[in-house]
C-alpha cells in the first residue's frame, strides 16, 4: 500500500461511517444499565437486567439456538458457495447460459424473505412425507438460512475471482503446476479475504433473520430475533439490551484478542509471552461463556418427560403470563410447559397453515380470528367435560358470537382499545376521536395504532358508523378519515401499542392509540397520564385459549386451559398482566385497586360504547385494499 497521505475528507468520511455503525451500540449499552424499565429516561444505574438475563432460560436457549444455526449454516454455505463460485468461474459458459446462471445465483438475494420462507415451507411440506428430519426445528432452520447465504458468499467470491483474471493461472501453469495445485497454491490464498468476507456477511445475515426463521422454526428452536420481534408487542425488555451489550463486548474482546495474539506471535521476549498467555486465558473465558450459555440454555429447557408426563406446548404473546405460573402449573399437574411466542397473530396463522399445527397444544389468539382458524381446520373442539373450572367463567364471556357454546375456545383475558394521553385538565368522558382525527382540533403530536382492522373500525366509529360495517362505501369513508388524520401536521405516524405508550411516556407525543394493558403500565409509571374510550365508541376484545387440530398432548392442553380458569390462577394472571379477567370466581383474589380501576374494568356507561369486532370474512380484501390506500397516500 502506498504511504501517501489521504486527503482530510477521506478521514472525515471514514470516521463518519464508523459513527454511523457504532453510535446505536453505545446507546444500547447505556440502556442496559438503565434502571428505568421502559427506558425512555435515565432512571439510575443498575445491573439488574444482567442478573435477570442469567435467569431467563428462554433468552439463553434462544441465544444458543441463534449461534448454533448461524455457525452451522455459515460453514455449510461458505463451503458450498465457494465451490459454486469456483465451479462457475472455471466453466466456459456460453453468453446466454452465463446470464441465466448469474440470475439464478442472484435469485435468493432479490427474493423477499417472506417468499423464501414460503418456498421453503412448501419444500419441507413435501419432504416431510419422506423424513421426519424436515419437521420444523434446527435442521430446517440451518437449511433455510444456508439457502439465502450461499448466494451472498458466491457473489462476493465471484467478484474477487473476476479481478484475479486468468493470467496468474496461466503463469502457474507455465511453471508446470497442475490445475489443482495452481488453484490451491495460487488462487485460493488470494481468495481468502473474499471467502472470509462472504462468510462474515452470511453469518450476520443468519443472526438477524426473522421472517424465514419464524416460518421454519419449531417451539424448541426459537432464535433470538423471534423472541425480540415477539417482545415488540409488549415492549422490548432491557434484558435484550444487556444481552446485546454482552454479545458485542465478547465479540470485540475476541477480535482484539485474536489481533493481539497474531501480533505477539510475531515478536519475541517475555512481554510477548505474557501477552500470549493472557490472550489464551481470554479465549478460554470466551469459551467458558459460551459453555455457560449452552448449559444454562439447556437446563432451562423443560425435559420432554418428567414424571412421565409430556410437555404442553403453548403458543402465545410475549410476556403474556406470570412466569411464576408455569412452575406452579407443572407442580400441580405434572406437565412441563414449553412456550412459543409470536408478535402478530395473522402471521402466526399463516405459519400454522403452512407448517402444520402438530407441534402445538394450546394456542392463545384473539376472538376476531377464531372463525378463520376454525374454518381453516387449525383447531379442534375443546372437550368441556375435561374443563371443570368452566363454571368460573363470567356469563358475559360464555357462548360468545365468534364461538357459539364455547365449542373451540375458553377466554383468557380481555381488554379495550382507547387513547392514552397527557392532559390533566380533560375529563376522560369528553374525549372524541375528532380530537385526534380532525387536524384543527388536535392539540399535540400523536401516533395511531399500526393495525389495519382495528384502525379502520376506529375510523368507522369516528363516523358513528357500525364498526363492523362491510359495505365498500363505509370502509372507504373510514379510510378517508385516517388519511386526513395522517396528513395532519401533528400526526407522527403509526406505531405498535407498546411503542406508542413509550412515546407518550417520553413526552415525544401527547397521545397514542393503545390497548388498556399498555395504558395501565404507563399510568403506573407516570400518574399524570390518562386513558379513555372516546365517546363515539371503540372496540373490546377477548383473547381465548384454543386447542390445535393435531395437538400431540390433548390431556395436557385441557389441563392447561382448566388451570388458567381456576380462581386463584386466573387472579394471578390478571394481577400480573393488568388486563380484565373473564373469570368470575377470580374476582375476590384480584388486587382491589385494579378491580376499581376504570381503565381495566370500565363502568357500564363505557361498556355500552364498546363493541366486539366480527371476523372480516369475505370483506377481508376490502379492509386490506383500504388499508393499503391509507398507507400509500
Amino acid at each position: 500500500m502506498n504511504t501517501r497521505k489521504l486527503p482530510w475528507w477521506v478521514h472525515l468520511c471514514a470516521w463518519g461511517a464508523l459513527a454511523l455503525l457504532f453510535l446505536p451500540l453505545l446507546f444500547v449499552a447505556a440502556e442496559s444499565f438503565n434502571a428505568n424499565r421502559l427506558g425512555q429516561s435515565w432512571g439510575g444505574f443498575t445491573l439488574q437486567w444482567y442478573t435477570r438475563l442469567a435467569q431467563n432460560g428462554m433468552i439463553l436457549l434462544g441465544t444458543w439456538n441463534t449461534v448454533f444455526v448461524a455457525t452451522v449454516s455459515t460453514l455449510l454455505s461458505t463451503l458450498l458457495g465457494t465451490l459454486l463460485a469456483i465451479g462457475l468461474h472455471r466453466t466456459p459458459w456460453s453468453k446466454r447460459a452465463r446470464q441465466a446462471i448469474q440470475s439464478a445465483i442472484e435469485l435468493p438475494v432479490v427474493t423477499p424473505d417472506i417468499l423464501i420462507a414460503v418456498t421453503l415451507v412448501g419444500a419441507y411440506g413435501v419432504l416431510r412425507h419422506f423424513s421426519s428430519l424436515f419437521e420444523p426445528g434446527l435442521v430446517t432452520l440451518v437449511i433455510g438460512h444456508a439457502c439465502f447465504q450461499i448466494s451472498f458468499v458466491t457473489l462476493v467470491v465471484l467478484s474477487r475471482l473476476a479481478t484475479i483474471g486468468h493470467e496468474q493461472m496461466e503463469a502457474a501453469r507455465d511453471l508446470y503446476a497442475t490445475t489443482a495445485s495452481a488453484w490451491i497454491r495460487v488462487i485460493l490464498p488470494q481468495l481468502f479475504t473474499a471467502i472470509a468476507a462472504g462468510a462474515l456477511l452470511a453469518f450476520t445475515l443468519s443472526l438477524d433473520d426473522f421472517i424465514i426463521s419464524f416460518f421454519v422454526s419449531g417451539p424448541r428452536s426459537q432464535t433470538l430475533p423471534l423472541l425480540i420481534y415477539a417482545s415488540l408487542r409488549r415492549g422490548i425488555s432491557p434484558e435484550i439490551h444487556a444481552l446485546s451489550t454482552l454479545i458485542v463486548t465478547l465479540t470485540m474482546v475476541g477480535i482484539l484478542g485474536a489481533a493481539l495474539y497474531v501480533n505477539a506471535r510475531n515478536k519475541e521476549g517475555a512481554l510477548a509471552h505474557m501477552v500470549r498467555r493472557g490472550i489464551v486465558a481470554m479465549g478460554i473465558l470466551l469459551f467458558a461463556g459460551l459453555a455457560f450459555l449452552v448449559v444454562f440454555g439447556r437446563s432451562f429447557q423443560p425435559a420432554v418427560s418428567s414424571e412421565g408426563r409430556r410437555v404442553v406446548t403453548v403458543l402465545m404473546y410475549s410476556e403474556y403470563i406470570d412466569p411464576d405460573m408455569i412452575p406452579e402449573f407443572t407442580a400441580r399437574t405434572g406437565y412441563p410447559v414449553q412456550l412459543e411466542l409470536y408478535e402478530a397473530q395473522e402471521e402466526m396463522i399463516g405459519k400454522l397453515q403452512a407448517s402444520g399445527t402438530g407441534q402445538y397444544d394450546v394456542i392463545v389468539a384473539s376472538d376476531v380470528v377464531i372463525p378463520q382458524m376454525v374454518n381453516l381446520g387449525l383447531l379442534q373442539p375443546v372437550d368441556s367435560n375435561r374443563i371443570p373450572n368452566r363454571t368460573n367463567v363470567s356469563p358475559r364471556f360464555r357462548n360468545p358470537i365468534f364461538d357459539p357454546n364455547n365449542r373451540f375456545s375458553w377466554p383468557y383475558l380481555w381488554g379495550t382499545t382507547g387513547v392514552l394521553y397527557r392532559d390533566s385538565n380533560r375529563i376522560p368522558d369528553s374525549l372524541s376521536w375528532a380530537d385526534l382525527f380532525e387536524p384543527v382540533r388536535v392539540r399535540g403530536p400523536f401516533v395511531m395504532l399500526d393495525e389495519s382492522r382495528t384502525m379502520l373500525s376506529i375510523g368507522l366509529n369516528a363516523l358513528r358508523l357500525d364498526p363492523n360495517a362491510k359495505r365498500p362505501a363505509d370502509i372507504r369513508a373510514a379510510a378517508e378519515v385516517l388519511i386526513r388524520a395522517k396528513h395532519g401536521a401533528l400526526c407522527l405516524g403509526f406505531d405498535g401499542s407498546a411503542s406508542g405508550r413509550d412515546k407518550v411516556l417520553a413526552g415525544q407525543v401527547r397521545s397514542a392509540i393503545v390497548f388498556n394493558g399498555e395504558a395501565m403500565a404507563a399510568i403506573g409509571e407516570d400518574s399524570s397520564l390518562q386513558y379513555s374510550i372516546p365517546k363515539e365508541g371503540s372496540s373490546i376484545w377477548v383473547d381465548v385459549m384454543t386447542i390445535s387440530a393435531t395437538a400431540p398432548n390433548l390431556a395436557g392442553a385441557h389441563a392447561f386451559i382448566n388451570y388458567i380458569l381456576d380462581a386463584q390462577a386466573g387472579a394471578k394472571l390478571a394481577n400480573y398482566i393488568q388486563y380484565g379477567s373473564p373469570n368470575q370466581a377470580a374476582m375476590p383474589f384480584i388486587t382491589p385497586e385494579d378491580l376499581k380501576n376504570p381503565v381495566i374494568y370500565p363502568d357500564s356507561s363505557i361498556m355500552a360504547r364498546l363493541e366486539f369486532l366480527s371476523e372480516a370474512g369475505s370483506a377481508a380484501r376490502l379492509f386490506d385494499e383500504a388499508w393499503t390506500t391509507v398507507k400509500s397516500r
Binding site: 502506498n2 468520511c13 462457475l88 432479490v110 448466494s151 490445475t179 468476507a197
Partner: protein, 305 residues
C-alpha cells in the same frame, strides 16, 4: 480452446465437467429448496383467495390487474406510489453506502496490515446486534432530548421541541447504518488487493485526482462496486422494518405490501404475485446494470483458462 498441459489435453468438455462437479452441491440445494418451489409460487400467483384465507386453485389474471392498480375501489395509484417510494429509498441507501464505503475502504487500507484486518472485523461487529435493537436505539439517538436534535434545532433545521425522527432523515440514517457493512466489505476486498503502481503511474503522468480515480482506481474496483450495489440495493428494496420504526410507518413500501398479504390480509396468491413482480423487476434491472458494470462471471473469454 485446447491447451496442452503435462501431456493432458484440457478441453472444453473437461472444464465443463469439473466446473459442473464443483457447482453441483450448491445448485442442487438451491434447486430443491428454492427454484422448484418457486415454480409453484408462480402458479399460486394466478390462484385466488378463499373467503377464510385459504388458497383457491381457480385461475385468473385478477391478481395481476390488482397489482396494476385495478382494485375493488376502482383504479388507484397506490401500487405505483408504493413502488416509487421503495425505489427511491433503496437507490438512496445504496448511493450513500457505496459513496461512504470508498473513503472507509481507503482509510482502512492505509493502515498497517494487522490493524487492517482488525478494523474490517470491527466494521462487522454492529451486525452482531439485532437490526430491531439497533433501529430502536437510533430512535433514542435522534429523539428531541439528544445532542443531534439540539444541534439541528439551533441550526434552524427543525422546529422547536422537535426531534429528528420520525422522518426521512432518520430512515436514511438507519438504512445506511444497517446496510453499510454490505457495501464496505466487497469494496474493501478490492481496494486491499489493488495494484498501486497504476496509481503511481497516473500521478507521474500528472493526472488530476479525479482522473486518477476514474482511470487508474475505478476500473480495478468496478466488479466490487457491482457486487456492493447488488448486496445493498436488493436487500434494501425489500426491507421495511427500518422505515416503519424510524419513519413512523406512515408509508407502505413494497416489502410491507408483500408481508401484509402473508399476514393480516391472508391473501397468499396476491402476495405471491407482488413478490414475483418484485423478483422479476430486480433481476431485469440487475441484468441491465451488469451490462454496464460488467458481469461477475468471466465475459468474452469462453474456453480460456
Amino acid at each position: 480452446m485446447i491447451e496442452l498441459h503435462e501431456g493432458k489435453v484440457t478441453t472444453r468438455g473437461r472444464m465443463l465437467r469439473t466446473g459442473t462437479l464443483l457447482s453441483a452441491p450448491g445448485i442442487l440445494l438451491l434447486s430443491l429448496f428454492l427454484f422448484l418451489p418457486m415454480v409453484g409460487l408462480c402458479v399460486m400467483a394466478f390462484a385466488s383467495r378463499g373467503s377464510y384465507g385459504s388458497v383457491e386453485w381457480s385461475f385468473s389474471l385478477e391478481n395481476l390487474w390488482r397489482l396494476l392498480g385495478f382494485g375493488l375501489f376502482g383504479w388507484t395509484a397506490d401500487t405505483f406510489l408504493i413502488l416509487v417510494r421503495s425505489a427511491v429509498l433503496a437507490v438512496g441507501t445504496t448511493a450513500i453506502c457505496v459513496l461512504l464505503s470508498f473513503p472507509l475502504a481507503f482509510w482502512v487500507a492505509s493502515k498497517t496490515k494487522s490493524s487492517r484486518n482488525l478494523l474490517m472485523a470491527l466494521i462487522m461487529v454492529p451486525s452482531c446486534t439485532n437490526l430491531v435493537i439497533r433501529t430502536y436505539s437510533w430512535m433514542l439517538v435522534l429523539s428531541s432530548q439528544m445532542p443531534p436534535a439540539w444541534l439541528a434545532r439551533n441550526l434552524g433545521l427543525v422546529g422547536p421541541e422537535q426531534g429528528l425522527y420520525p422522518g426521512s432523515l432518520a430512515v436514511f440514517l438507519g438504512m445506511a447504518s444497517s446496510m453499510l457493512p454490505f457495501a464496505a466489505l466487497p469494496i474493501y476486498t478490492a481496494v486491499e488487493r489493488m495494484d498501486w503502481s497504476l496509481v503511481e503511474a497516473a500521478r507521474d503522468l500528472y493526472a488530476s485526482s479525479w482522473s486518477t480515480f476514474r482511470n487508474a482506481i475505478f476500473p480495478q474496483v468496478q466488479t466490487a462496486v457491482v457486487a456492493a450495489v447488488i448486496l445493498t440495493l436488493v436487500p434494501s428494496l425489500g426491507m421495511f422494518v427500518v422505515s416503519d420504526l424510524l419513519g413512523g410507518a406512515r408509508h407502505m413500501l413494497i416489502g410491507n405490501l408483500i408481508q401484509q398479504q402473508f399476514g393480516s390480509a391472508s391473501d397468499w396468491p396476491f402476495g405471491a404475485m407482488a413478490g414475483i413482480f418484485l423478483v422479476a423487476t430486480s433481476l431485469l434491472s440487475l441484468a441491465a446494470f451488469q451490462r454496464w458494470g460488467g458481469g461477475l462471471l468471466p465475459a468474452g473469454k469462453e474456453g480460456r483458462q
